[in-house]
Symmetry: C2
Subunit: 323 residues, 2 copies
């Protein structure tokens, strides 16, 4: 910048003004400065600006696994929505590792990110509340002061239950995440079970280990389910597990949907890719993402009256795994 100023024969102040289009500048001076910028191929140093303004336009996204279709889809939309508001995303893949998550959260604060979107959850509540940066939670209850954005899991549970009931199931099973972790997603399983009970339908639950995102884990769960519950005629689980169950059922020559109905949750591309395509409860990725960014942006701008619970309706996508 000094070089530009020298070349143009003006002060750094003037250069700054040209760059930021601020204050009075004569056309002649502007031209001179712009010429010098061009000639020197000058690139403004955003780090210096960030230091002065104490604002970086960086947002940290902390998730368990970017290679999981749900998170990669959410990340895609978040990136788009952040970009539109001129934020950049630091991707923090916490894996299933609380140490890494902690280090990332510390790093994000040291790097003065403007805000944090967190879809991970391996630490104690206390750790999240101690964070001074604006923060929103994706599908996780971190504390009662941190806004949460999620799909309407209760509605999803009901839609799934309805569909399986409608399809004539008499003995269903749902695959649930660990009940030990308090997430909105538990609500869909509560609702699902409730509706089944109300309709006098047998309903088993199989618990999946928390934060296990591995296809071979799904395979063993699928095997376990179909061996241990041979009479089950309807299953409700996230798309990825559903796809694995379907595959295993096909190997065992169980007809889908005739003998076994399946309803997925998430609405990732997986549900369309497999054959038969999965009837699934699609999470509103677009709304979850845009709302997350919007809420976070308002938090950053210190607005008041920001809603703490932001729940968005899901949609049942008719596939070929139900009648």
């Amino acid at each position: 910048m000094k070089d530009v100023a020298k070349k143009a024969g003006v002060s750094v102040n003037t250069v700054s003004r040209v760059l930021n289009n601020r204050g009075y500048i004569s056309d002649k001076t502007r031209k001179k400065v712009e010429g010098a910028i061009e000639e020197l191929n000058y690139i403004p140093n955003q780090v210096a600006r960030n230091l002065y303004k104490n604002k970086t336009n960086l947002i940290g996204l902390v998730i368990p696994d970017i290679s999981h279709p749900f998170f990669s889809k959410i990340a895609k939309f978040l990136e788009k929505d952040l970009y539109l508001k001129d934020y950049k995303m630091i991707l923090c893949n916490a894996t299933e590792n609380s140490e890494k998550e902690k280090e990332y959260l510390t790093m994000l604060q040291e790097n003065k990110v403007d805000g944090i979107i967190i879809g991970s959850h391996t630490l104690e509540t206390e750790f999240y509340t101690k964070i001074r940066s604006p923060i929103v939670a994706l599908d996780r209850y971190l504390s009662d002061s941190i806004p949460v954005i999620s799909s309407n899991h209760a509605q999803g549970g009901r839609l799934a239950a309805e569909k399986l009931i409608e399809s004539g199931c008499k003995n269903v099973l749902q695959v649930v995440g660990s009940r030990k972790v308090d997430t909105p997603s538990n609500e869909r399983h509560v609702e699902f079970e409730k509706m089944m009970k109300e309709n006098g339908i047998k309903c088993n639950s199989v618990e999946l280990e928390w934060n296990k995102f591995n296809f071979s884990d799904y395979e063993s769960v699928s095997k376990y389910i179909l061996e241990e519950y041979p009479d089950v005629d309807g299953i409700f689980s996230v798309d990825l597990v559903a796809s694995s169950i379907i595959k295993y059922a096909q190997k065992k020559n169980i007809q889908i949907p005739e003998e076994l109905k399946v309803v997925g949750y998430d609405g990732t591309d997986i549900s369309q890719i497999v054959n038969p395509s999965i009837t699934t409860i699609r999470q509103p990725f677009e709304l979850i993402s845009s709302s997350s960014v919007d809420i976070l942006d308002r938090l950053i701008k210190k607005e008041k009256g920001i809603p703490l619970k932001n729940i968005f309706d899901v949609q049942l996508i008719e596939g070929e795994t139900t009648l």
Copy 2:
């Protein structure tokens, strides 16, 4: 930091020393400073450090689509390898948008990232060579001064061809990306076609639109292929397209692998998720990622003799879509 210094009754310099474990410090002073840090819940400002050191430990990852299984898998490994070297990743999803890619590249330079990993490719070579930051290319030839890291596509093409030949195919078809863009991946199609010619096997190629990553696009391609080339008995394409072809073939009651053999490319989870699982050429994600980070790191450290071509062997994963 000033507050910490005041509280501890020392100079900011001393605080800096404690933080960085540098120079001589008496145990007593250190304790005092650490106490003050603790008490004030002080978090060092990395932005100020970055400004002084002219180093941010940030790396930009520019890709076309994070929700594509190939890129989300690569991103996962890259994040892990970068984290191990204390780099943070800024995720830049360029979509199919050259304007966005350009803006991102400018932004990354303004933000003084230490380096850029680029798996996108919508701009003219000139634009990439103008970038002063260290830069490596994933599976793209950007210029002859930018190191490229990719899988051994030629070998992959040969392995795929061998497999289909071995399985008895007489009339094969491969789905290729746009030939207009100069990427290493073209090499696998050249090799594939060559081997087929050498063995007197009919070989068609269908060109896929560049940078189209949408399952419904794949569906129309699948439909087109199976309608227009009803006699084809072997297909070679990326996993995602392969999965779509398989699904469509199943709808038409074409037996796989008896009537139609399929070999995929990539080795994403998709190949395991679908039924039958796809025989696929797995790209060495781990090596591509660790090599990219290693090369970039050496570029950042201004080492000499950094290899420009870094090609890693692929592996054929036997699935159920070939004999």
